[in-house]
Each structure stands twice: as structure tokens, then as C-alpha cells.
Symmetry: C2
């Protein structure tokens, strides 16, 4: 029995490794997508789009490993919670990969132009940087079961929301001269970054839940 | 042991009831949200926004019931799959409630005006109707474990995607005279309906997975 329990905990450890690896891939994806958007770099955009399959594959492997684990090990209650929560964390990370891919598709669609007009480049760059910071912290939360770091993510998420509102202010100002199409692109792009951030925060909150048993107050999706 | 198994299956049955009840609530939510949007009806919009808490509560109850079930019953592999999948279905339905709430918030934000200009009223109405049809079919799929019906949902989802593309065509046509703000509203609204449909299809696909063990080809999120 004790050997079985050890095997179970080794497996959970392997799940953690997979989740951390997913944070690396989705960080790289949003970083490249942001650069593709700002530089109108088609190759970089294509790389994000084609490499999303790798993130999807990791998630499927995670799912299969968890199902296998739960089917063979008859884990006790607390480990069930860990396994199910790991599944949800994987689902959120997989979704973050999709959102990075959406940003890359907007870059591809407008190539050789940039979808981002000059007066919004700094805002989009900052949104991309916050997205990267969030997911990097999320990865550290997972790797180190760091509850205090998880709480820091809320501040970054607030900063993301402020930048998101700034996008709309610029779109609706009298000085907006770029017309409808860039406004649509920016509306969608802003939504993708904001959702990406929300999912990163959810994953970090799941770490808090696993470590403490309490779920942090969930910020409503604006 | 056999009595324990029976208790487990009664519980799973109760989960199904909860999921079906969630489909009723999220159908009502998107129906009222669409009407609130088209009629600029503030009270109706407020009702969707305030009643989302009820959907969230149902999801939390479902989650607690599933955790309790898995902790106490030591279910075998196939039932674990059912329980975990039910959890994911609940998560998708909870998200559909959020998306209906987002539509209602756009209606509230533009009140006493309507966020939808005359030339797009029919498209938005149709998107709302397809959303309702999708979730109603999803509810039947769950209640009756109906795999054939689940396949029908893909056609409705294709129709939703066509309407979504029509929105953009109208926004980008030379005849668009409403400026940026309604374009932003419609871009976001279209995205919310399209995501609502995607989640409904995911839930139906999960029914197929539970019944047949195979996962239908997943349409990529456009």
C-alpha cells in the first residue's frame, strides 16, 4: 500500500512538471504573438499558430495521465482534488495557447500591414508584457506551491484591465482616424489579452486552493 | 458493495438532473439577454445579470457533489470518467451563463439606446435563436444520452459562424454609418454568441464521449 502511495505522489509530481512545461509554451506563444502583431511578422505569427498543436498535445497527455492515475490508484479524497484541479489548470493553460493563437491570426490577417496603429503600440506591448509576467508567475506558483506569489497576480491582472480600458478610450476618442477595421482588430485583441490574463489568474488561484484548501475571491470576468 | 454501486448511480443521475437544469437557466439567460439587447430593456438586462449568481451556485453545488461522490464511493474507472466529464460540462455551462451576462451588460451600458443598429437586428436575433436552439438540444442530449442529436449541433454551430462573419461584413461595408462605438459593441456581442455556441457544442460532444468513449472531432475556435 505504501509503495502504491509513493507511486501516486511520483505521478502527481510528473503532472506538476507537465503543467509547468505548459506555462513555458504559452508564455513563448503570447510573447511571439505580441511581436508578430507589432512587427507584422508573418513567419512568427505562423510559428505561434502551428505550435499551438504542441500545447494541445501536452494537455491531452496530461488528461490521459490523470485518467490513468485515477483509474489505477484509487486515490484518497485529497489526491482526487489535486488530480481534478490539475486537469482544470491544464484546461486553462490550453485555452491560453488558443488565445495567443488568436492574436497571431490577427497579425497574419493584416500582414504585411500591422493591425496596431502607432498610438496603441505601447499599450499592446505592455499588455503582452503583463501577459508574459502573469504566466511566468503562474509557472512559479505551480512549481513552488507559492501561495504568496499567487496573490501578486491580482495586481498584474488589475493592470491588464486598466490597459484594456485604455484601448477603448483611444478607440472612442475624437483623434481616432483609422476607421472600423482596426477598431475591430483591437477590440478582439484586447479581449484575447484580457482573457489570457484571467486564465493565468485562475490557474494561480487553483494553486492556492490546492495548498490551502481555500479558493481566493474570484474576480468577475469583465 | 452492490448497494454502494446503486447509490453511486443514483448520484450520477442527480448530476445529470443538475446539468439539465443548468441548460434551462443558461437558455433563459441568453434569450432574455438577446431581447434586452434588441429592445434596450434595462430591467430584463438587470435580471440576466443578477440571476447569473444562480447559475454559478448550481455549478458550485455540482462541483461539491462530484467531489463528495468521488471521495466516498471509490468509483471504478468508467464512473470516474463520467464524474470528471460532468464537472467539465458544468464548467462550460457556467461559462455560457457568463457570456449571456456579458451580452446583457452591453444592453445595460447603452440603455436607453439599443446597442444594435437597424440593419443588424435580424442577424443578432438569429444568433440569439441559434444559441437557444443549441443549448436546448444540448439539454436533450444530456437528458437522453442522445448521440445522434449531438451531431446535429455542428450544423447549428456552422450557422452561427456564418452569422458571425455576416456581422463583420456589415461593419466593414461602405454603408456603415454608425461609427466606432456600435462597431465595438457588435464585435464583442458577436464574439459572446459565438463562444456561447462553442461551449454548447463542447457539452454535447462530452455527451458523445461519455456514451461512446470517442470524442468527436473538435471544431477549432475561430
Amino acid at each position: 500500500m505504501s509503495r502504491m502511495r509513493d507511486a501516486f505522489h511520483d505521478e502527481l509530481n510528473a503532472l506538476t512538471q507537465r503543467l509547468v512545461q505548459m506555462t513555458h509554451l504559452v508564455r513563448s506563444a503570447i510573447s511571439r504573438a505580441t511581436t508578430a502583431l507589432l512587427d507584422a511578422d508573418l513567419q512568427l505569427a505562423e510559428s505561434v499558430i502551428s505550435q499551438d498543436a504542441e500545447i494541445d498535445r501536452l494537455y491531452k497527455e496530461l488528461e490521459a495521465a490523470i485518467f490513468e492515475l485515477m483509474a489505477t490508484q484509487q486515490p484518497v479524497a485529497v489526491d482526487l482534488r489535486t488530480a481534478i484541479t490539475a486537469l482544470r489548470m491544464g484546461g486553462d493553460l490550453e485555452r491560453m495557447g488558443d488565445l495567443a493563437e488568436h492574436v497571431a491570426k490577427i497579425a497574419r490577417m493584416r500582414h504585411p500591414d500591422s493591425a496596431i496603429p502607432p498610438e496603441l503600440r505601447d499599450t499592446i506591448l505592455e499588455m503582452g508584457q503583463i501577459a508574459e509576467r502573469l504566466v511566468t508567475k503562474t509557472g512559479s506558483c505551480i512549481a513552488n506551491q507559492d501561495v504568496d506569489l499567487a496573490k501578486e497576480l491580482d495586481d498584474d491582472d488589475d493592470a491588464m484591465d486598466r490597459l484594456h480600458r485604455r484601448l477603448f478610450r483611444v478607440l472612442l476618442s475624437k483623434n481616432w482616424t483609422h476607421g472600423i477595421e482596426p477598431a475591430i482588430d483591437i477590440t478582439l485583441t484586447g479581449r484575447y489579452y484580457e482573457r489570457y490574463a484571467d486564465h493565468a489568474v485562475r490557474v494561480a488561484h487553483d494553486v492556492v486552493y490546492l495548498v490551502t484548501g481555500d479558493r481566493p475571491e474570484v474576480a468577475s470576468d469583465s
